[in-house]
């Protein structure tokens, strides 16, 4: 792993603290090797699952002879299978992600550090991590793999990526839903400033393919406070549109519109049983990541 890229996107102290809590999924995953996550198949782990009647063809070694001695009937004892997960990290590379205000980091930079952190953690816990960047000129998609050298590939990919052009997240999510095998974890990192109905359609598509979808929304503090003390010419980051406005006059309505969007997004996420979390770019990566990890662990335990 290149030391320069690693130091650019990863913080070893943060990672060492975050590694204590693995990233878990609430759904059964289809992995390739054994791992931390529940599998839809029964396996030979130590975790008892259920008894079932013997059927011709079953392996006689799996018969529970103690039950046969007591009941004169053949029962097979089944155990939970545990597997690793395939996590597809989807990074929004649209122009709106390039937004930053004053000293706050750009949303895209924050997202890149999140991608690097999660990729490292996933590989470290034995899961496979892949990367898809949704942008006008995307780098090649990186399929999920669990080798440590794979993290380096991901770091190199995000390092070369730029945020420009219009949002392509919806289109890419539909494509992924068709492309990747079912029962994977899909982590989408974006500001989700796109048509809500289209976004919901894409996420539903993923959910239909039994993927565990996690939506991480990144916003700048100025975007949710909208505090300006002078007239401003607002220039759209994704198009050539510009608006001259007096923020003091439209602030209330702007915040109302944003609030409506956020409420709708949360409502839809809840209906789709999708984990939606919103981060401000002025908060530390560690706090945002640890919050997500803990919440996921609690949900996994409860499920």
């Amino acid at each position: 792993m290149s030391e320069s890229l690693a130091s650019k996107y990863l913080d070893s102290a943060v990672l060492s603290r975050l590694m204590a809590q693995p990233l878990l999924t609430t759904m059964a995953m289809q992995g390739t090797v054994s791992g931390l996550h529940r599998s839809p198949h029964k396996g030979s782990s130590v975790e008892f699952a259920e008894y079932r009647n013997y059927a011709p063809g079953d392996d006689l070694r799996r018969l529970d002879w103690r039950v046969f001695a007591r009941t004169d009937r053949f029962f097979l004892k089944e155990f939970e299978a545990e597997t690793n997960l395939r996590c597809h990290l989807v990074l929004d590379g649209s122009g709106s992600m390039a937004f930053s205000y004053k000293t706050n980091p750009a949303k895209f930079d924050y997202a890149r550090r999140l991608v690097a952190t999660f990729a490292y953690l996933l590989v470290h816990q034995g899961d496979a991590a892949g990367l898809t960047i949704c942008s006008r000129t995307p780098p090649p998609e990186i399929p999920p793999k669990r080798t440590p050298s794979h993290v380096q590939l991901i770091l190199e990919s995000i390092d070369t990526a730029t945020a420009e052009g219009e949002t392509l997240v919806v289109k890419e999510l539909h494509a992924m839903a068709e492309r990747i095998r079912p029962r994977a974890m899909v982590v989408v990192i974006s500001d989700f400033f796109c048509d809500l109905e289209e976004l919901v359609g894409a996420v539903q598509h993923l959910r239909f393919k039994k993927h565990d979808v996690v939506m991480l929304q990144l916003l700048d503090r100025q975007e949710v406070e909208f505090k300006f003390d002078h007239p401003v010419r607002f220039q759209d980051l994704e198009s050539s549109t510009s608006i001259v406005a007096e923020p003091q006059l439209i602030r209330e309505e702007y915040l109302r519109q944003l609030s409506l969007f956020q409420d709708s997004l949360r409502q839809k996420a809840s209906e789709m049983r999708v984990d939606l979390r919103t981060f401000m770019t002025d908060e530390p990566i560690e706090k945002a990541a640890s919050g997500l990890l803990l919440a996921r662990a609690q949900l996994a335990t409860a499920g």
């Binding site: 122009g95 709106s96 992600m97 390039a98 937004f99 949303k107 500001d191 400033f193 916003l219 700048d220 503090r221 975007e223 949710v224 300006f228 002078h230 007239p231 401003v232 010419r233 607002f234 220039q235 759209d236 980051l237 994704e238 198009s239 549109t241 608006i243 001259v244 406005a245 007096e246 003091q248 006059l249 439209i250 209330e252 309505e253 702007y254 915040l255 109302r256 519109q257 944003l258 609030s259 969007f261 956020q262 409420d263 949360r266 996420a269 809840s270 049983r273 999708v274 984990d275 939606l276 979390r277 919103t278 981060f279 401000m280 908060e283 530390p284 945002a288 919050g291 997500l292 919440a295």
Partner: protein, 670 residues
């Protein structure tokens, strides 16, 4: 509406300041790249009309605040249009005009009188109602209600010209009420022009309460507007002729006059030299007089030469801001013998009085119990002792009312005050005989040396009253005009006016044990002066106040000898002659009174009526000052408050699921 500081209106271009600041602010917008453009576009679309309206209101409030600030600094006075704009045209407008003498003082511009200024303001403001309302004039001199064909005819009416009368406002309001009840106008507006002279308004007169009740009971829709006119001249004098004595036994070829000059001098001066123009029967001479601060008595004798018939004098001071009170008139009758009647209980007193009076003319003495001669044959009656009967009391009062002089001396014994005496003496009551034991009270320390029986001689010498000793006196109460008093304040000589005549009351007797008046050094000149004063009240030479005499008293063919051309003896001061009869009319003494009705008194008098004040411009400090800057100040503050409320941040919109900088928590979908 008028303004005391119109120069402030040069600041009106500042009204554009908020607009200019707004435009500059719009031009200095800063560029900012933005990600959440979809919300910005939606906000701009839905908030544009509301925001523009709000922006316009904010700008309008700022401009309004600057405008109101300008008006506030210009010190506006409530005036014509401000009052009129709130009310529709009434059916009738009554112009109540104060034509009293005091209204001839100069207005602020110095060229017109207060009356003329009032007429101008009336005419100017009435034009807005010409053809829409009836105009009615009610003037203070005639108290006649006169309907005007057009407001343009107002200035040419004889009933708006200057007079030398006093105004009787309660009576004028009575006339207004009577007219209102007869004419029954639907809605009535009354414009009152006055200088608010207290003697004319008499705010404490109970008749106001009665008028108020009558106006309320009549159910009239009346609004009163009071135009206050104030003359604020300083360093002005007024002149009054108190007494003119024609040829007498003492000086058969001279006429004497006593005049009073009152007023304040220029600041820092205690005395000034002025010129008094004296016109005797048409020949005028200028005499120099020295005027002191407050009042100055001027006494002069004028040589008549061979002409000892009746005649007139007029005195004039140089004109000042109040020209109406710089001229005074007097008349005198032909030479006539002085006749006095002495009626005394005590023979010694009677004898002394008779002897003293003979120095000025003839004197007749009778006992109180004897039949009295015809009183009209005497100018002076000296009565010592009790009034024997009501009939005698009535006869004496009639004599005084007609212009006679009565000197009353007390009885030597303690007697009950008779009703006849009480009525005759106009409320003055004998109380008790007081043997003076207090040594401090033995002397008379102060007395009126300017006029009256104890006045200085023409040479300026005082009567030896201070050397006169007193041992006994009567105590009297109810004296309103004390001419001489003991050191303890008890009156020695008091004077009451009854009709055209005067009653003098002295509280001691010229007897041993009572006083040393019997020595004659005071008593003789005192009685001689009374006789002379009585002579001035000649039946053929009468001095009175303009507007005071009845129509019967003014019957005759009076010609103007001095005074305004075409003067009317009913309302104008001057000298008038009808054959052998002479008549001098002066403005009423109350017109020289500078006391004005205060705001509280006015509100108390008019509290039941719907009225407001309306000021002439260029006022100095006055309780009725109509500055309405407070209204503009309040409106400006309200405009600023409203503007502040408009720009106040509205209730913060809470976006759920967002972390604050200190509590950074993400939302978790359930």
């Amino acid at each position: 509406m008028t303004f005391l500081q119109p120069i402030v209106f040069w600041g009106l271009p500042l009204l554009l300041l908020p607009v200019i600041i707004h435009l500059i602010n719009r031009l200095r917008h800063k560029p900012q790249v933005w990600a959440a453009m979809r919300f910005l576009q939606a906000a701009t679309r839905s908030a544009v009309s509301h925001a523009k309206l709000k922006q316009f209101l904010i700008l309008a409030m700022r401009v309004l605040a600057v405008l109101l600030l300008t008006l506030f600094l210009a010190r506006p006075l409530s005036g014509d249009w401000l009052g009129w704009m709130w009310h529709p045209a009434p059916d009738a407008i009554v112009l109540m005009l104060d034509r009293s003498a005091s209204m001839e003082a100069r207005a602020a511009d110095g060229t017109k009188s207060l009356r003329e200024e009032a007429l101008n303001i009336f005419a100017q403001n009435a034009k807005a109602f010409d053809g829409r309302a009836r105009f009615v004039l009610l003037d203070s001199a005639t108290q006649r209600v006169e309907e005007l064909a057009s407001i343009n005819s107002l200035m040419s009416l004889s009933s708006v010209r200057a007079t030398d009368t006093a105004a009787d406002w309660p009576s004028m309001f009575g006339s207004l009420l009577k007219w209102s009840l007869d004419a029954k106008p639907g809605s009535l507006e009354v414009w009152v022009a006055t200088d608010l002279q207290k003697s004319n308004w008499r705010p404490s007169d109970p008749v106001w309460r009665s008028l108020e009740a009558q106006f309320a009971g009549a159910g009239l829709q009346v609004r009163f507007r009071l135009l206050e006119l104030i003359h604020t001249g300083r360093g002005e004098q007024s002149l009054r002729v108190d007494e003119v004595t024609g040829p007498s036994n003492r000086s058969r070829d001279a006429v004497h006059f006593s005049a009073l000059v009152q007023g304040d001098l220029a600041q820092g001066k205690t005395a000034i030299s002025s010129s008094l123009s004296v016109n005797l029967n048409g020949s005028s001479t200028d005499q120099s007089v020295s005027l002191r601060e407050g009042s100055t008595r001027v006494r002069r004798s004028l040589n008549l030469g061979a002409n000892t018939n009746g005649g007139w004098i007029s005195l004039s001071l140089p004109p000042d801001g109040s020209p109406q009170d710089n001229t005074a008139y007097g008349v005198y009758g032909p030479a006539q013998p002085s006749r006095a009647l002495v009626v005394a209980e005590d023979k010694r007193v009677g004898r002394l009085l008779e002897l003293a009076l003979r120095t000025a003319g003839s004197a007749q003495r009778v006992e109180p119990t004897a039949t009295l001669p015809v009183l009209q044959n005497f100018q002076v009656i000296v009565w010592q002792g009790a009034i024997p009967s009501q009939t005698v009391g009535d006869a004496l009062r009639q004599h005084v009312t007609a212009g006679g002089t009565l000197l009353f001396l007390p009885s030597t014994a303690q007697v009950t005050n008779s009703p006849a005496a009480g009525e005759l003496l106009a409320g003055l009551v004998w109380t008790s005989i007081d043997a003076i034991t207090n040594t401090a009270a033995l002397r008379v320390e102060r007395w009126n040396e300017e006029e009256g029986p104890f006045a200085r001689t023409e040479e300026g010498y005082s009567l030896p009253l201070r050397q006169t000793e007193f041992g006994k006196r009567w105590i009297i109460s109810g004296a309103t005009n004390t001419l001489a008093a003991f050191a303890d304040g008890a009156p020695l000589l008091a004077r009451q006016s009854v009709g055209d005549g005067k009653i003098y009351v002295i509280t001691t007797l010229p007897l041993p044990g009572w006083s040393t008046l019997g020595e004659g050094r005071v008593l003789v000149p005192m009685l001689a002066r009374l006789a002379e004063t009585a002579l001035s009240r000649n039946a053929n030479a009468r001095m009175s106040e303009a507007g005071k005499l009845s129509s019967r008293e003014l019957e005759g063919n009076w010609r103007v000898m001095a005074g305004p051309t075409g003067g009317d003896p009913r309302i104008n001061a001057g000298v008038y002659r009808d054959g052998d009869r002479w008549l001098a009319l002066n403005r009423p003494a109350s017109e020289d009174d500078s006391e004005r009705v205060t705001a509280d008194e006015m509100q108390s008098a008019l509290k039941g009526l719907s009225w407001n004040f309306w000021q002439e411009k260029q006022k100095t400090d006055s309780p009725f000052r109509g500055e309405i800057w407070r209204i503009f100040l309040m409106c400006m503050l309200l405009a600023l408050l409203f503007e502040g409320w408009l720009i106040l941040p509205r209730k913060e919109v809470v976006i759920s699921g967002l972390g604050s900088p200190t509590a950074r928590t993400g939302g978790v979908a359930p």
